[in-house]
Amino acid sequence: MTAALINVPKKARNGDIIEIKTLTSHVMETGYRHTPRGEVIPRDIITSFTCRFEGDEIFHADFFPATAANPFLSFFTTATKSGKFDFEWIGDNGFSQTASASITVE
């Protein structure tokens, strides 16, 4: 069971620079760790994150094994109109997760 936490302001004025914060639940297994019996634990990470506003990509990030478990991201965008943000995480073993948040711009 995975879950994502999204923090987007519900309202903003036209031209405001707003901060978007996301937190996803994921182990981000590095692929460099061993069990006590010496077996390598296979890599299992999220590799990419994309944020789109009304279908247009506004932010993209590549993750690596060096990204901490439960990846956290904070970034900014300018509020120009009301609409919907779509968030997408893609990772190893077919991992895919989406979330969305709406904003009202006055």
Partner: protein
């Protein structure tokens, strides 16, 4: 007649600390078979810049200078940029020297970001130098570095 120096508490602690540091070093190396090197970081940086000149400045890297646990180190990169359609930050790339892989993260921005600033949390396998590079819309590259001391390493620890 020479007097034996009295082993003060301060001297004792200094000696003990020194011995511990020397003793810990070979152990730390032996438990981590795979790790990047400064050369690997340089190669990874060249992949991003294509050999272009990287100038120091414009980029600010906020990361704690001393972290107790390398498993989750908060990091903020910001770039001084007006973020207009003609002058903006295209991407931010963060590198490290001693993790198994030289990359910490790539972040791609649009002029609509308004502010060229990204925060995330990373793993650090050792005390090392972190380099952040920003690619601007005019094709120039700017960078900054920060030194981080890590007490408890991440990435390669064994599962108990």
């Amino acid at each position: 007649m020479r007097r034996q120096p009295v082993p003060t508490r301060r001297r004792f602690l200094a000696l003990a600390g020194g011995t511990a540091a020397i003793g810990a070093l070979p152990v730390a190396i032996s438990v981590r078979p795979a790790r990047a090197t400064p050369e690997m970081m340089a190669t990874a940086i060249r992949t991003v810049t294509g050999g272009a000149n990287v100038k120091p400045g414009k980029v600010k890297l906020d990361i704690p200078p001393l972290v107790e646990n390398g498993n989750s180190v908060p990091m903020t990169v910001s770039v001084a940029s007006p973020m207009t359609a003609n002058d903006y930050v295209k991407s931010i790339h963060v590198f490290n020297e001693k993790n198994p892989q030289p990359n910490l993260g790539n972040f791609y921005l649009k002029p609509s970001a308004g502010r060229a600033q990204v925060s995330t949390r990373v793993r650090l396998a050792d005390s090392q130098k972190i380099t952040a590079i920003a690619k601007l819309s005019d094709g120039s590259f700017w960078s900054t570095t920060a030194d981080v001391v890590v007490t408890l390493a991440a990435c390669t620890e064994d599962v108990i």
